[in-house]
Symmetry: C2
Subunit: 344 residues, 2 copies
């Protein structure tokens, strides 16, 4: 069973020889070979130059042997393609912020075959360079999270601009969310056409919503995006940090796989959800700073909870900057070892 | 029924004429009269000078008529009293960070009647200046949260230092938690002796733990602190941001009241907990940026969920800086109005 079959089977809850493993944010900041690349190119240059993005995508897979190569990109490529200026230095800013109906009018419809084709092209290159290799995972920010960035104009602690729009101008909010959802769908479909084996929706900020607001302001748009991707036949993974309060609602998105953050016990998740979806996650990323025996013990405990079925092994959040390479290696190796112990 | 009776009855699940109301972080940054005070004194000067702290405590109560005067102080007074240097500018730092057994040896035992008496003295002054007035609420950081600050040495995004200690040096972690717990107990007992009607434990960072780690690394210390305060007879409120994943475990702390953040629906909380504890919360602080009718509608919906019984009305998190004063007023007034509508 190769990595792609293993990953796709796990996403669909089908039998696997061992659970597939990858790490959110595996491509990038933790790797010396990435730092070397980064010393020569800006982050945006790496994202927008397909052969460089493909190289960054494959670096962790070559070093550690993950089953999945998540494409090196950023969730903010979508707001950028909609005409906003996205800067990462000195701090993240997305300008001009979208606050009123007329700001929405000025947004561009995205044309993934032109202004986002660099992502698809990177996927094609990764796929070419690794025929017997990893599954290629495309991704996009989820609509609510992209709306947060676009309305707040950058990172936010309290999200009162977007919530002000939700509560005070629901028509404007709905219009914005519809446009973003169309852009997300189009971006993901284009990645799938380029060869992505699966796609992930990252909903970084939806955990800031209570369940009622999530059902009203995020869920309908997620359902629409996922429904429109259904004919492609590829699995969709939905990740929201802080899924604990939203688990039952998140299950209604129609996603094939739910990403679970580290604050939940997977046995409890299975009890609440039944067997409808595969799960992805969910080790505390801080554990990778521990010694190898601690990491192995934690992974074995987690895998014993799920039995390794319908389970894409991952951290419960993106890898922490400065995580020791030995911790990442121990993580991947422990999954392999659990599989070997079990099969042998 | 005066404010103090109303608040204490609500904490104990007893009948009230209307639910009591206050706002986490009501004293301080949002008020112009506080800004005026702050233009003359540093934050630490305000905390450590009892008549100034008493003044800052009473400012919001005078302006808005909350039922509770939460003492103007900071959770970091405890690490400071244990001998660490706490600076707020240019960014928060707690030095030297506590990383090893010998760092713990150097911590001072706190003597609340000397190096923390300014808090108790402020409580005595507030109590004197408001005989027919609000309940006075003392507070402390909870042990795990204080340990996070002391080990990380400041705010943290990923908490890998403290988690490294939890996983890698459990004996050192336990020793630190025991010392902090003793300090917290002593600090809270001293506030109660000075006249606090109730005390709140703020566990700002415990929501970063999964349920298993919470039960192992935070819960036993919380139980001990609360158990040791039991003979005083005053209610204890336990607040953890992100309580959704920890609700059942948090109920085992022995706290009389659980603070609920805005990401949970109170009907769901009651269903999960039964009627064991009173609840405090839980409006989304961002709602105070909305217009008055939206705020009133949200509060009425929330109070209709609990029926106003065993419910201390509050936000689900501290008030956001720059919240409009009109929003705070609308919040407090709506609770009064709900009570009036209901009674008559």
């Amino acid at each position: 069973m190769n990595s792609k079959e293993r990953f796709l089977n796990a996403c669909r809850g089908l039998p696997v020889d061992r659970p597939p493993v990858w790490i959110m944010r595996q491509a990038g900041r933790t790797l010396p070979e990435y730092q070397e690349l980064r010393s020569r190119y800006s982050f945006w240059q790496l994202c927008r130059t397909p052969d460089l993005a493909a190289e960054a995508t494959l670096q962790p897979v070559r070093r550690f042997g993950m089953d999945v190569a998540v494409i090196f990109s950023d969730i903010l490529v979508v707001p950028a393609a909609m005409g906003l200026e996205v800067r990462f230095t000195p701090r993240l800013s997305i300008t001009p912020p979208v606050r009123e109906a007329r700001d929405i009018e000025r947004l561009l419809p995205i044309r993934p075959d032109s202004n986002l084709d660099f992502v698809a092209e990177a996927i094609r290159l990764v796929d070419e360079q690794s025929t017997a290799g990893p599954a290629v995972l495309g991704f996009s920010g989820a609509p609510f999270t992209l709306a947060c960035y676009m309305v707040e104009g950058g990172p936010s602690k309290h999200f009162h601009q977007i919530k002000g729009m939700m509560y005070g101008a629901p028509g404007v909010f709905a219009d914005l969310m519809e446009r973003i959802s169309a852009a997300v769908t189009s971006h993901l479909r284009h990645q799938i056409e380029a060869g992505a084996s699966a796609v992930q929706l990252f909903d970084t900020w939806a955990g800031e919503l209570g369940p009622a607001d999530f059902r009203r302001c995020a869920l309908p748009y997620l359902r629409r995006v996922i429904e429109e991707l259904r004919p492609t036949g590829v699995p969709v993974i939905y990740y929201v940090n802080g899924i604990g309060n939203l688990l039952e609602a998140a299950a209604q998105t129609g996603a094939d796989v739910l990403g679970i953050d580290w604050r939940l016990d997977l046995v409890e998740v299975r009890r609440r959800l039944g067997k409808g979806q595969a799960l992805q996650g969910n080790l505390d990323p801080a554990i990778l700073f521990a010694e190898e025996p601690v990491i192995r013990k934690k992974i074995f405990e987690m895998l014993d909870q799920t039995g390794g079925r319908g389970h894409v092994v991952n951290l419960g959040h993106g890898v922490i900057p400065d995580t020791p390479l030995a911790g990442i290696r121990a993580f991947v190796n422990a999954v392999h070892q659990w599989g070997n112990d079990r099969n042998g």
